[in-house]
Amino acid sequence: MTMSPHSGGTQPLQRIYESRLRHVSVAVPAFAVCAGVLASAVDLRFGLAGAAFVLGWSQLVGL
């Protein structure tokens, strides 16, 4: 049975969103760091672009 975010009141709903958010917010920078490491092999400046992406992503909380 799949759990719908809209079933079971506010508390489970918030927990589901927090869990999803936690996973995505860590997965995205992890992927960016991996891509940045690979890109650094071509040119170290591309590695800085990976860092810039992570810095931009972390601004999400200020939207």
Binding site: S4, P5, H6, T10, L13, Q14, Y17, E18, R20, L21, R22, V24, S25, V26, V28, P29, A32, V33, G36, S40, L44, R45, G47, L48, A49, G50, A51, A52, F53, V54, L55, G56, W57, S58, Q59, L60, V61, G62, L63
Partner: protein, 194 residues
């Protein structure tokens, strides 16, 4: 429903491309300015200054040091969404937020990017750095539908986001550490090569 999805796609695309254009422009301008103001021969000294700024920014984000950032306490105009069409508003929001310095930013990381671009003094690299910063900033608009079942869930997601502030602070520090590590590697290579 298909019409709604299409409109969402057009709006998010307009937002992303408009922001990429202004961010790229800001980065290229800063790069050009750096190249004009800052002599290339002192790049190593400049990199050391930026590295010190990385440490300072990380200390601020972690709450170890407190100092005011030179920033405007302005947010983009929500009212555009009311009076203009949704696509025009998305385009204007993208143009505005993409300008980076015309709206408030949460963490100190952007000051490190600015310093980096000024020291490198290369407009193309400046544009690349600010555009990738923007793509990281705009990505949540693309993945929000994956996190929520419908738009009614937005307050719950924003609430969850607010409670996860500490995590985003840590991610910002991770970005700064990553930038610092790349700069150290760059300085080491340039010293051993030259």
């Amino acid at each position: 429903m298909a019409g709604e999805k299409k409109r969402w796609f057009i709006n998010v695309t307009a937002f992303t491309f408009a922001g990429a254009a202004t961010s790229g422009l800001v980065g290229a301008t800063l790069g050009g300015l750096g190249g004009w103001l800052y002599p290339k021969r002192s790049e190593a000294f400049g990199m050391m200054l930026v590295f010190a700024l990385v440490l300072l920014a990380a200390a601020r984000v972690l709450g170890w040091r407190s100092f005011a950032l030179p920033r405007i306490r302005r947010q983009t105009r929500e009212v555009w969404g009311k009076y203009l069409g949704s696509t025009t508003a998305a385009l204007l929001w993208g143009l505005d937020v993409g300008l980076t310095f015309t709206t408030r930013f949460t963490f100190a990381g952007v000051s490190v990017l600015t310093a980096l671009v000024l020291v490198y003094g290369d407009p193309a690299f400046g544009a690349l750095l600010f555009m990738t910063f923007w793509f990281g900033r705009a990505l949540p608009a693309w993945i929000a539908p994956l996190l929520m079942q419908d738009a009614n869930a937005t307050p719950y997601l924003l609430d969850a986001l607010d409670r996860r502030r500490r995590l985003f602070r840590q991610i910002n520090v991770a970005g700064l550490v990553w930038a610092g590590a790349v700069m150290l590697a760059s300085m080491t290579f340039s010293t051993s090569m030259g």
